[in-house]
Amino acid sequence: MPEMDRRSLLKMGAAAIAGTVIGNGVTLYTSPARAEEGGGPPGAAATNALEIPSKGKARWGMVIDNNKCTAQCTACTAACRTENNVPLFGDERYDGHWIRKVTLTPERGGPEKHLPLLCNHCDQPPCQHVCPVAATFTRHDGIVMIDKHRCIGCRYCMIACPYKARTFVFKETSEWTNKDVPKRAHGVVEKCTFCAHLIDQGKIPACVEACNKSGEGAMIFGDLNNPGSAIVKYIRAVATKGIREDLGLEPKVSYTGI
């Protein structure tokens, strides 16, 4: 559906909240007030604060500007480990990774690229499709999460995920860096939650906050359903691409410059 159609339709929405199905069960909601502020050029990374839409209307997504992400910076990964109690054992076989920095070297030469990889929170998550006990679920705001109360640790989701976004808790950690967030007992699968506990408080994920603080500002997080949000403005202005979009999983994390 062309962008203009969507926007004009939204503007037509009268006093109440307007909603329109944009395909694949994704419903686009917005309030008239927000529809008015839609459009315009992408704001600077500074306008990256969360606007909390009414509950259940948001659809969180992330854009990572590859050109701003530098080689040495590990602000996002470090922040994630502290926030979510993700342990680092120093043994690459068992380390948990909710977000990790990778280096891409073009095979035919050229500059290296550095970018963080995390769960893409697919709209069609294969991990959720294969989970035998429905422990993996998609929240109303599109965040794919694991119910660790229910996970049996069969690891089928790790087989099915093409992004290697999931890790298994091979060992328990005694460290408890952030006591507000549960850690994991061994034997369940864990992955990025987009810091759902922070989103529910109206904050932004720890990695994005750390990225902003470090001055790189390479991560833009926001509501894909809100035409006025910084992320939607950015996506409309700059070409972005998800990883392995050919698989048709519709990832909600996209990158510029890959």
Partner: protein, 398 residues
């Protein structure tokens, strides 16, 4: 009962040899349980599995045992469904083995979970889209069918036996196709994603099941001093040769399909040429032991009629199909996933390179222990139930 010539009896099972066997198998199974308890207590870092290779030897064993089970059950139904009365002597043994092997396979799967204490969760929280969840339902009904089928055979309910035999064949095919689908339906990994996996799983099930049945029949009859009809073994050997040919055909098609497309050269090079230990297991274990050598033995008129050689061929197939299961489960995870075509990727999560999988002693103990437990139950069942055909009555030794 009048139309049944075969008389089934219990084995006496009082000899020192029998109790020694039971004791050894029991001890081994205790070892297996101990290893799974250690995994449960301390976490899966006790095994050779890693975050990059989340499915290790227990899953290989589970798939292998399910295959043996499905093959056994189909053999068991030969006499009742297809009217091949010459296979009547093995009907009960193979149905029993089918049930026990599937129990073993389920134990492999469940004890390999990170949280086997959550065994009840799959019963109240199901996901009908998941092959695992669907298979769970198939497996449990399968075990039920096996036992009802055994009960019907014991009580000589001929019509019910025929009906259940038919259901059992259908269910065995369904169960093992489902097991193949666990891998074949996963689009993320190149070496898994293939619609040929379910049928080739069935073929491998039939070949390994037949081979195991030959060995088990021979061992059971020799051990109890019963007289075994050589013709039965030879006919099973013939079946085995046919099944091997079908497996070989499917393996050939699958690999040729993958090798033909230039985009898959890297994957196929890894599997067939440069993957070091995996290509060794592929060529020596899967192709050599599982297909080529036994087929030569069975197809050659000089050796195909000899009971000794048929036993050798069967043993080779039983080993070779284990290698095949290993080749299905492990290299698909070792091969890195192509996330960024055109780039070489390096990162902390073993990104962009082959990750070796080392079989840990813990997993070997686990696999051996569960297998031993299956045969532990089998040995005890022979003593307590009228499983074994008694051709030479009065002659039975121990």
């Amino acid at each position: 009962m009048a139309n049944i010539k075969t008389k089934f009896t219990v084995i006496e099972g009082n000899s020192a040899g029998y109790w020694l066997l039971v004791a050894v198998l029991g001890l081994l199974s205790l070892g297996g349980f101990w290893s799974s308890y250690m995994m449960f207590l301390h976490g899966h870092y006790m095994t050779g599995m890693t975050n990059a290779i989340p499915w290790g030897f227990p899953i290989v064993m589970a798939v292998y045992l399910i295959g043996l089970s499905a093959g056994s059950l189909v053999l068991s139904a030969l006499s009742s469904v297809f009217g091949r009365t010459e296979f009547k002597p093995l009907a009960r043994i193979s149905a029993l083995l089918a049930a026990l092997l599937l129990i073993g396979a389920l134990m492999c799967i469940i004890l390999d979970w990170g949280r086997p204490d959550r065994i009840l969760v799959p019963f109240y929280s199901m996901n009908p889209r998941s092959m695992f969840s669907l298979n769970g339902m198939l497996y449990s009904t399968y075990i039920g069918i096996c036992f009802v089928y055994l009960w019907a055979m014991f009580n000589h309910k001929e019509k019910l036996v025929k009906l259940l035999g038919f259901t059992a064949v259908f269910w065995a095919v369904l169960v093992h196709s489902g097991t193949g689908a666990i891998f074949g339906f996963v689009g993320a990994r190149e070496l898994y994603h293939s619609p040929l996996l379910p049928p080739s799983f069935i073929a491998a099930a039939l070949s390994s099941g037949t081979a195991l049945m030959i060995l088990v029949l021979y061992a059971t009859f020799k051990f109890t001093g019963r007289q075994l009809d050589d013709g039965l073994i030879r006919r099973l050997g013939l079946y085995l040769a046919v099944f091997i040919a079908v497996v070989a055909y499917l393996v050939f098609i699958e690999n040729v399909t993958r090798s033909y497309w230039p985009g898959n050269y890297a994957v196929q090079k890894f599997l067939l040429l440069f993957g070091n230990k995996y290509s060794l297991i592929f060529w020596i274990g899967m192709i050599g032991c599982g297909l080529l050598f036994p087929f030569i033995i069975l197809a050659n008129p000089a050796t195909g009629k000899s009971i000794g050689w048929i036993l050798v061929a069967s043993a080779l197939v039983v080993i070779g199909v284990l290698a095949e299961r290993y080749i299905i489960v492990i290299p698909g995870q070792v091969m890195p996933m192509e996330m960024f075509p055109g780039y070489h990727i390096a990162g902390p999560f073993q990104d962009g390179r082959m990750i070796d999988y080392y079989l840990s002693p813990m997993e070997i103990l686990f696999g051996a222990g569960i297998t031993a437990f299956v045969f532990f139950l089998y040995a005890l069942s022979l003593k307590f139930f009228e499983m074994t055909p008694d051709k030479a009555a009065g002659e039975s030794g121990n």
